[in-house]
Symmetry: C3
Subunit: 332 residues, 3 copies
């Protein structure tokens, strides 16, 4: 596996990911995807290593995916249940992390509703000169790097299942639809997809997509990132190769950022009809869980000709195996 030049032992953000790193993840994940097609879907790569899932914000789906990835690498896993934890007893988050460090944890997978918590823990682990890896499994509205990497893997393997690589997306058009402002999934995907040379078109209601949003990416590094902002679906979908619908949080309604789910679906919902303006072989992605009939019509979600949603979940296990494996190798 392509781990020779890898030397990153935390996965916090994709903002500074290099093309060779994307390709290492994609190629390592492709190897593991092959393992997962066997009857015995395990490799001994991380035997005896301990991976602690510190999900301060609960999530069964993502935790299960990480737990399964860890088990298929033969690692031992510890699950942290926020409701019953020392946090409620007044311990600081850094002290909780240091407790898991002292127990002998090798990798901490961290989800927290505040942006920056995984980075703070990673910095503390480095300051203490430990070799613990920190994996951001979603921090507030900041980033969710493994979600973006599994999206990338899902797309790239369509073009070359055996050698998925970033350059395959050069010149493709990808629309990201929905609540961009609050979405860590969108932020991570913007970094990865623009790094590939694809055109990324963001589209959502003005309350959830400020015009200035594109500025935080464009010109932030030497890459000529192609990022566009729209308030209506039509220009974003026109000739798109991929449409990624984001999950709408129902809380946005009570905070008056959205009028109603029906209105949202009418203006921004992805349906079979609306895909007719895209490329004929357009594919639809969604990070899940889906509100059927809101972000995507129920028929479209179940149509294997268009929907990549199941493949995204499957890719999630292989991509997380790849990242855990690379983080672990990056410590040597």
């Amino acid at each position: 596996m392509a781990a020779t030049s890898w030397n990153r032992h935390h996965i916090i953000s994709l903002a500074d990911f290099q093309p060779f790193e994307y390709d290492a993840v994609l190629q390592t994940a492709a190897s593991f995807q092959e393992v997962l097609s066997r009857r015995t879907k395990k490799v001994p790569a991380l035997q005896g290593q301990v991976i602690a899932n510190l999900f301060f914000e609960s999530s069964t789906r993502t935790r299960s995916s990480f737990e399964l990835a860890a088990k298929r690498l033969s690692a031992d896993t510890l699950n942290f249940a926020p409701g019953t934890s020392s946090i409620t007893k007044g311990e600081t988050i850094l002290d909780t992390a240091k407790t898991y460090l002292a127990m002998g944890t090798d990798i901490m997978v961290i989800r927290h509703r505040e942006a920056g918590v995984p980075l703070a823990i990673a910095n503390e682990m480095d300051r203490l000169q430990t070799r613990v890896g920190v994996f951001n499994a979603g921090d507030g509205q900041h980033e969710h790097p493994s979600q973006a990497l599994l999206d990338l893997f899902t797309i790239c393997t369509l073009f070359d299942p055996e050698k998925p690589r970033l350059s395959l997306l050069q010149g493709k058009k990808i629309a990201i639809v929905g609540d961009i402002l609050h979405s860590r999934v969108a932020r991570s995907n913007i970094w990865s997809l623009t790094a590939s040379g694809a055109e990324v078109h963001l589209v959502g209601p003005p309350t959830l997509l400020p015009k200035a949003f594109a500025d935080f990416v464009k010109g932030s590094d030497e890459l000529p990132r192609k990022l566009f902002v729209h308030w209506s679906l039509e220009p974003a979908l026109e000739n798109a190769d991929f449409v990624m619908a984001l999950r709408i949080q129902k809380e946005r309604m009570t905070s008056h950022l959205l009028p109603s789910l029906r209105e949202y679906h009418w203006r921004y919902g992805i349906t079979g009809d609306r895909l007719q303006h895209c490329q004929p072989d357009v594919k639809v992605l969604h990070p899940g869980p889906v509100n059927r009939g809101v972000e995507i019509s129920s028929e479209l979600m179940d149509d294997p000709k268009f929907s990549l949603i199941s493949q995204q979940v499957t890719s999630g296990v292989a991509v997380r195996m790849a990242l855990l494996y690379l983080m672990s190798s990056g410590k040597a």
Copy 2:
């Protein structure tokens, strides 16, 4: 193990179970029971397979039994915690199941308070042409097949520990006492016990046992099922070989279906005295957890001469190992 002719890869209901299937379960469980008497109580049968426990209705006892059965087959397990799941985020149950399918789950063990959920998921898995097995771990008031099969195994091994088989119950008399109307345990046991040729006598208060109850079984298939309904204990216990007390849900009191626990115990509680009308070597079963002094007197529960309650729990692990193993073989 007797898996040659087995070709059922879902366990949903015992209504259409065939005698050879009961015997396959009993004999496979007997093999695993032997494994469990060793110091190292594991076999590599399901190594690398993933078993997801999707307990939408929570149950520590049953989940632990399934989890232990899976671990002793060397499978990896995923636990789904309903309180923290995508269900609360608006995802449909079928979409949750499809997510676990896409992650690479081999067998889904499902408990849900609505009857029919496991069947609906099994149908969807088949429609999608997957090879995932669905195991009903209790659905509403419908069925709880593994409970009935562990009861059957517990009884049959009394007569022949090495070769337990359905025909050993031919002509025996078994009383099932309590809240028949709401009991999935009773429904599954009625199918298995009447299939054996035993006489099954249901007994409970009229509010919890309509006279017409027997009709749903009798004449429903070609088997001459012997099922009787009583509102008082005496005729049911007379000469009984086995007495199975069902758990009383305290909610039945608030819904006016039962006057009080004391009154219930006075009329239907199983005590040493009342067993004197049964066969001298009568045995008592209960699916647990027991309300001591309500369904069964505390003394009787602790009397190893009569009580099979501990053996039932022990059988549970072996029988669930057998079912998981057979389901898995049934997919080939």
Copy 3:
């Protein structure tokens, strides 16, 4: 490992622990500590054994430590979640324990807010002539033996990392500071530390440390236990080799046993200044989780010259591995 003469298969209290038993734990833990320094931190000692964590009182930190210890011995673990258990369905605690017994559990790790529950379960397991081991992971205000043994191990390995033994503490002075009255950690530590021949000085506010407290230990057995009680810090800290701060429960404020956290810190908080009256190489311990700035100043907690808090957590895994291993060998 030094398990030849060990014949205790429950760990309930340290009141009757013998010096050779302390030394067996310390030496076995030292062997496992060495295992934990390798990349593959597992041994096959308890392969196929089942360890059930029955935490009726929830605790993520302690449960994680036990779970990791079990996994590193290659045991299978079951976790019991009190909120979703049969307990809420009216089952007695002894019946819950018997259910886990019947499933085939080898060791039960039990935490309960009532003193005496682990002992009651151990007695029942013995009465039933089972070989199940019961491990008290904290019962009310009674004892928390593994915490005291990990404290002992942490201290003894400072003097001889390869051969930690009880006699190394002969003549040392150890201060235990805080809510002695309600602390199971203090009770267990008093037994182990006085058994070593160290001088143990208890110090806390009069509401949390009755003058008669020392009497329950002194003269309770043939050992000449050296135990002293103080209401002010100075005499306890003077020339102390070790200072162990106990956790303050915030509930003590509402029950008027403490005026305020600030007042507590001002009178009993451990700070760098206050350590100047101790031995120059004094070390500070705390069972965690720490209320920073209350029991210990934040600076002191993070100062590796003084704080043993991280080492305590690390020792916890090795000591629990040792105890589980010895309990298991003690059954043969």
